[in-house]
């Protein structure tokens, strides 16, 4: 007799556990407000990207087209993937000294792993990570970016 | 067993091995031909009971190889680093420990393909991670592959 009760109590317990599981999914079916997914391109206006989000390396420029990069290549050395290449130029200062200045800060977004080491390594805070994450292009060449704008100059007083 | 006691006991049991110490571990260095005996004693001796092998590392020191075994006793709680030195770089060979520690089986296969060290009496010594047709032993310090290694700077 014991086995028979066990048989039926097994069935009962099993069915109850199943019904409990169904109550969870049933709850979500009846509460569409719980839906958490969003429609991505449509929600661009309300999309909040955290301030610290590392999407892309940029070099901020002032209004009169000046940046803070001295071309010291600390970021190039810090980069684990070789995604930064500093092309520098030699000029002669008014005092007659030879001096290295930055020509191009080449940044290869395709190779970047967004580890933030370059930003930490920069002694003059010339480069920062921006929030922009929409990098898709049809041409891989577009991902190689020159961060200093054409004609831009180093901000006065940074070099010291 | 505390560190001093373990060290004394070790020197008693393996008088001809060389010892060194760092902050964490006692390091016992032996030669490749004695490794099975040493490991068997370490595992089965009731004073040691090193039953848990948690890390196996191959190291290339240019003219010799070292296999490093990190051992722990789950009963007694002490730890030991066992090193086996393989002098012969041309034909590096060492006895397998996979019969004592099954976890060594896959690890030894990895060291075999990365360093070219042959583990004698290993049940199934084949390449593990690399493609079957791979040539050379990539983790050796003198490995050179212009196609796959891009030097920075």
């Amino acid at each position: 007799m014991n086995e028979v009760t066990e048989y039926f109590s097994d069935i009962f317990k099993g069915v109850r556990s199943l019904l409990k599981g169904m109550s969870v999914t049933g709850y979500y079916f009846l509460h569409p407000k719980e839906i958490i997914t969003q429609q991505y391109p449509e929600n661009r206006d309300v999309l909040k990207v955290p301030e610290r989000f590392r999407g892309e390396l940029v070099m901020p420029h002032t209004a009169d087209n000046q940046h803070r990069c001295t071309g010291c290549s600390a970021c190039q050395l810090a980069c684990p993937n070789g995604s930064i290449i500093i092309v520098s130029d030699r000029i002669e200062t008014p005092e007659g000294k030879k001096k290295k200045i930055i020509d191009k800060h080449v940044y290869n977004l395709a190779m970047c792993t967004f580890c933030n080491l370059c930003v930490r390594a920069c002694p003059t805070d010339a480069i920062v990570m921006s929030n922009d994450f929409e990098h898709a292009t049809y041409d891989r060449g577009d991902l190689i970016k020159i961060l200093n704008q054409p004609g831009s100059k180093v901000l006065e007083g940074i070099e010291e | 067993m505390d560190r001093e006691a373990l060290k004394n006991k070790l020197t008693e049991v393996f008088p001809d091995a060389s010892y060194s110490e760092n902050k964490q571990f006692i390091i016992l260095t032996t030669t490749s031909d004695k490794i099975t005996g040493v490991a068997e004693t370490l595992k089965n001796n009731t004073d040691f009971r090193f039953d848990y092998l948690f890390c196996i590392t191959g190291e290339d020191w240019l003219n010799y190889f070292i296999i490093t075994y990190h051992l722990r006793s789950t009963h007694l709680g002490h730890e030991l680093v066992l090193k086996a030195k393989i002098e012969n770089r041309e034909k590096p060979e060492i006895e397998t420990l996979s019969h004592l520690y099954p976890t060594a089986e896959l690890n030894e296969r990895e060291i075999f393909e990365m360093y070219g060290i042959h583990f004698l009496h290993h049940p199934d010594l084949r390449k593990l991670l690399l493609p079957d047709e791979w040539e050379g032993f990539p983790m050796r310090k003198d490995y050179y592959d212009p196609l796959h290694i891009v030097e920075l700077e």
Partner: protein
């Protein structure tokens, strides 16, 4: 019987029949009617597939706190149509060592099997293509032809995953056919007839699920479990078992042939739900509660077709709910469930029902 005459389709079908007979000979009338019914069912199939796939996606999405398809059409309503078009244009691949004839045949068998089953379905009074006097027997016979298709598909694919899926499916459907049939027989004891129209008529004063007490509720539970198993749906999707067998018997199918299997799954689900609705929930019979005349009259104004589809969709929703809640059983547990639990229970239940019926304790 107070079915409003406007909802009685027999007048309409009769009128068409008389009109056609007046125009042509008996044989050609028959042929024309067959073609007519066939076309209607074909269209019905297409719509059914689209609607059910969309419904499943939305139900599953809401349960899974997602939105589901939202892009194609308003609320993604045209998504399944778009998917269907994609499947039609996909390349039908055949594995190299496959048995090409059987490989191509299998999807047609499964679709024909489910096609045949719809023939006896009483959608409303008079809206029934065939009214066999062994309708219930016919339907359970025909609906199990589908498994041969799965076996053929698995075998002909010449893939081990497909074969395992097919063999699992064979074992599964053979066993679950028993309890599905027995649970239906439980109601047949009460109706005394296998004719579907008669089963529906017998529920004019109340559905069997109420009239047959505990016994018919147990029968319904067993039927819905066995039915879910017969349609190869989760938690009994052993034949597919995507996390074990990649896609089971239809691993090697692509394009339109895959679409056939996909469609057949949904049509089968509809058939099981329709049988359940017909046998246990009075088919197209409106809901009548005892002597509440006013209430009953209001209910009568809802068209019988609507009643039928409401009941069917309720059962289909139940099956979807199962699928998106439960983990999959293992094959041996599946068979244990059938042979150790469902079959003894339905045998006991059939005895109980016979006893109830003998004592006249049902309503």
């Amino acid at each position: 019987m107070k079915i409003l005459s406007i909802y009685d389709f027999s007048n309409l079908t009769q009128a068409i029949h008389t009109w056609l007979s007046g125009k042509m000979s008996v044989v050609s009338t028959q042929v024309v009617e067959m073609i007519l019914v066939g076309t209607v069912f074909l269209l019905f199939f297409a719509v059914l597939g689209l609607v059910l796939v969309y419904a499943e996606r939305k139900v599953c999405a809401i349960i899974q706190v997602r939105l589901g398809p939202m892009r194609v059409g308003k609320w993604g309503t045209a998504q399944t149509l778009a998917d269907f078009i994609k499947l039609v244009f996909k390349e039908p691949l055949i594995t190299r060592d496959a048995d090409k004839f059987l490989f191509n045949l299998a999807p047609f068998i499964i679709i024909i099997a489910s096609f045949m089953a719809v023939a006896v379905m009483p959608f409303a009074k008079g809206l029934q293509a065939m009214d066999f006097d062994i309708g219930l027997f016919y339907i359970s016979a025909v609906s199990s032809i589908g498994v041969t298709s799965i076996l053929i598909a698995g075998w002909a694919s010449n893939s081990k995953y497909s074969l395992i899926g097919a063999i699992r499916s064979g074992a599964q459907i053979l066993s679950y056919e028993l309890s599905a049939g027995l649970s239906l027989l439980t109601i047949v004891i009460l109706t005394g007839s296998l004719q579907l129209s008669e089963i529906v008529e017998s529920q004019a004063d109340g559905w069997w699920i109420w009239k047959g007490h505990v016994s018919s509720i147990i029968a319904f539970v067993i039927f819905i479990i066995a039915g879910t198993a017969e349609t190869n749906r989760g938690p009994f999707d052993m034949a597919e078992a995507e996390s074990e067998l990649t896609a089971g018997f239809h691993t090697e199918y692509s394009g339109i042939k895959f679409a056939f299997f996909f469609l057949a799954e949904y049509v089968n689900m509809f058939i099981i739900a329709a049988i359940g609705a017909t046998v246990f929930f009075g088919g197209w019979m409106p809901l009548h509660v005892g002597n509440f005349e006013a209430f009953n009259n209001i209910m009568d104004y809802i068209p019988s077709v609507v009643w039928f589809f409401m009941k069917v969709s309720a059962i289909i929703f139940l099956m979807m709910w199962f699928r998106w809640t439960f983990p999959r059983l293992r094959i041996d547990q599946l068979l244990t469930l059938e042979w150790k639990y469902l079959l003894p229970l339905s045998l006991m239940n059939i005895l109980l029902m016979a006893f109830l019926s003998l004592m006249g304790w049902h309503f």
